[in-house]
């Protein structure tokens, strides 16, 4: 254990803390101010009156719909990912099939493809499938592009399960499916948490795919709606900031209630 304090690290940490917190505080301060007050006093002065009217205005304007759309896309993506990725990872770790080995190589290749570069043909495909302007049309490609990283992470987690455990299950006469559900999945909880966190963040924060594939107001997601608000609210900064705060609240709640899992999930993305 180091006994002398890490001064340089401490200074950098302090400075960066200020850099992180100041915009956040400004955002919160603006969100609770009145539009007139903000216009008069500028962004730095303390608000004379605290008000919730900006939040009410954003909700009245239909922002809850946008948040719900984001939530649906997130739930759909996470659900699909949890459906298809664990079996794939299990197969990669345990299967003797050459096909599966090639599938793993495919996934590694897929890591280099960000969703953006195929947004043009994906939009064409989605239009042809008749899924244009639907949430499903966003969920499907988002899931597809989350698969490589999730597979990689989960495969890493599942590799830690030793052969002897499999053999023990085999002695008890367990079938492959039973081994999967009774042993592999429970032992991969850490990896699964990371996968859920990654897929959820990808889906919740997604912008380009919903921008291109889900334009009409009923299916607009929160991130795209925020961008639209910039024109709508113009210099009504308090109104705009209230909308931004509203997009943070769902994740903040998850953070408060599941902090450990969330942090472990993010750390897990760095790999071991």
């Amino acid at each position: 254990m180091r006994t002398r304090p890490n001064v340089i690290g401490g200074v950098v940490a302090a400075v960066w803390l200020a850099i992180v917190l100041i915009p956040v505080l400004l955002m919160l301060r603006a969100a609770f101010d009145t539009q007139a007050g903000y216009a008069q006093n500028g962004p730095l002065a303390l608000p004379r009156t605290l008000t919730l009217e900006n939040f009410v205005a954003a909700i009245d304007g239909g922002f809850l719909r946008n948040l719900a759309n984001s939530a649906i896309i997130t739930a759909g993506t996470v659900g699909l990912v949890l459906l298809v990725v664990p079996p794939l990872s299990f197969a990669i770790v345990r299967s003797t099939s050459r096909t599966v080995a090639n599938a793993f190589r495919l996934m590694l290749l897929g890591l280099a493809i960000p969703a953006q570069v195929v947004v043009v043909p994906v939009s064409y495909l989605i239009i042809q499938l008749g899924l244009n302007n639907s949430l499903l049309g966003v969920i499907l490609p988002t899931t597809a592009f989350a698969i490589p990283v999730c597979t990689l992470v989960l495969t890493g987690a599942m590799r830690n399960i030793g052969d002897e455990l499999y053999e023990a299950m085999a002695i008890d006469g367990a079938s492959t499916m039973r081994i999967y559900t009774r042993m592999v999945l429970p032992l991969s909880k850490g990896g699964l948490a990371t996968v859920i966190v990654f897929a959820a963040l990808q889906a919740w924060n997604g912008f380009l795919l919903p921008l291109v594939l889900a334009r009409s107001p009923e299916v607009t997601v929160a991130t795209v709606a925020l961008n639209q608000f910039r024109s709508q609210y113009s210099v009504n900064i308090p109104g705009l900031m209230a909308a931004v705060v509203l997009t943070i609240i769902p994740i903040l709640l998850v953070y408060l209630f599941a902090r450990r899992a969330l942090v472990a999930g993010v750390m897990g993305m760095g790999g071991k």
Binding site: R98, T99, N102, L125, Q128, L129, R215, V235
Partner: protein
């Protein structure tokens, strides 16, 4: 061992791998062909059979001026079995709006009626056969064409086929001002270029940005070029240049225009931060008194009124662009009109035709006037005096109408007049000139390099 395969282990492994890979590729290709085939079938099912029943969809550009169109649809629905459903586009900018329509063509989401700003925007659509020509309907009901000013109607006649019915109104560009700021500095709205330049100095000294410019949005910068060129080069030559005569950009008059613009920018007329301001925020500059002038289209009146009705009533001033030069006075630039286009596969053409016939009805003309729009029907003049709306709105309409009637020429916004592929290049050249990264030669070269 009997049946022992004479091949070595490695060869067996690699040949098995090859056949696995081959099978894999085969499977992917089959899946791919299936998907594309299905997709093709899904797309080929003509959209009109999957269009909603008993509905005609109108996609309005959802800014302050959309209210009149919505009201018209409501009234029309009272007497129509097939209902007009108003969809409000989430896009706040013309390119994004048109591209939204573009992407939905051929799907059940496609609108039946949508809006455009000029022929260049819909050229693609016409080429793909996606738009309905109005020629047959005009044959049945000539008023569809004759009710409108011919110069305006002809903007969206392409190869002899009419594709657009004028709607909303004509939107020339004027020099708006904040009357209190001017008065506080003992100034009146500038009428000549020299006047404008000297006012710039006075306003700067008073700590006001003389002219607000949303440089980040780029098209407001275009407006300055449009007017200075109109009065040095003349709109006739400009039209030729936009049609492909690139020598105009290098002419003496063009260079003179560039010098004048350079002088204005260097005098600090637009402040120093215009490249960081976009049109979401620039009207607020004028409203709040941080700037004294803004060169903007007539829709700006509705925008200002929507944000601050008191300011629109008593604080917002407007005038024609400062005059100078030997070209005919009173030349205008801006949006000649908006137009309603109809998709070729619309399911209820009769309903659409009946709806379009309302666009020149006195009631609709009056509702547009109430919003501060100036319709381009030939008889609009007689309705202005009785238009509902505030006294200041009426005054603005009369000012606009007089200017339009008296204008020797009305140049369509340059970015609507060139092919869409050249729009960005042109705007970049203008922004570059204003911010100083391009000099006059650079600008001329850039403009000459565009496709027309």
């Amino acid at each position: 061992m009997t049946g022992h395969n004479p091949k070595t282990t490695n060869e067996r492994v690699s040949s098995k791998m090859n056949s696995h890979i081959a099978r894999r590729i085969g499977a992917i290709s089959v899946a791919g062909a299936l998907i594309m085939g299905l997709a093709g079938c899904a797309g080929a099912n003509s959209a009109s059979s999957s269009r909603p029943e008993n509905e005609v969809h109108l996609l309005v550009f959802n800014d302050a001026a959309a209210a009149a169109e919505e009201a018209l649809a409501d009234k029309f629905n009272e007497t129509s079995d097939v209902k007009i459903v108003v969809d409000k586009s989430p896009e706040t900018e013309s390119v994004a709006y048109i591209n939204g329509v573009r992407q939905s063509l051929g799907t059940p989401d496609a609108p039946d009626i949508f809006m455009s700003w000029g022929a260049a925007q819909v050229q693609d659509f016409v080429d793909s056969g996606a738009l309905l020509s109005y020629n047959d309907w005009i044959g049945q009901t000539p008023a569809l064409r004759d009710a409108f000013s011919p110069a305006v109607f002809d903007q969206e006649v392409i190869d002899g086929q009419a594709y657009g019915i004028p709607v909303r109104g004509t939107q020339p560009v004027f020099l708006f001002n904040n009357a209190s700021v001017l008065a506080a500095n003992g100034l009146k709205p500038a009428t000549t270029w020299k006047d404008l330049l000297s006012q710039v100095d006075t306003l700067k000294a008073a700590g006001v940005t003389p002219i607000g410019l949303a440089g980040a949005s780029q098209w407001p910068t275009l407006m300055w070029f449009e007017y200075v060129y109109a009065q040095t080069v003349g709109n006739d030559k400009v039209a030729q240049a936009l049609a492909g005569d690139t020598s105009v950009w290098d002419s003496a008059e063009s260079r003179e225009a560039l010098d004048m613009l350079r002088q204005l920018v260097d005098a600090g007329a637009f402040g120093t931060t215009f490249d960081s301001v976009d049109y979401d925020n620039s009207p607020a500059l004028l409203r709040s008194g941080k700037s004294a002038y803004e060169l903007m289209g007539t829709w700006n009146y509705a925008v200002q009124a929507g944000a601050d009705a008191t300011f629109a009533d008593s604080g917002l001033g407007y005038s024609a662009f400062p005059a100078f030069g030997s070209q005919p006075k009173g030349q205008l630039a801006g949006n000649v009109s908006n137009y309603y286009n109809v998709t070729a596969d619309t399911r209820y053409p009769d309903t659409v035709k009946a709806f379009l016939q309302e666009l020149y009805s006195p009631e609709f003309v009056q509702s547009e006037l109430a919003l501060g729009n100036l319709p381009t029907t030939t008889d609009v003049g007689q309705y202005i005096g009785d238009a509902p709306g505030t006294a200041s709105a009426k005054k603005f309409l009369e000012f606009t109408n007089d200017a339009v009637q008296a204008a020797p020429s009305f140049q369509l916004s340059w970015d609507q007049a060139v092919p869409t592929a050249s729009k960005q290049g042109m705007l970049d050249a203008m922004s570059g000139f204003f911010s100083g990264t391009l000099d006059a030669d650079g600008f001329v070269k850039a403009m000459q390099g565009l496709q027309y």
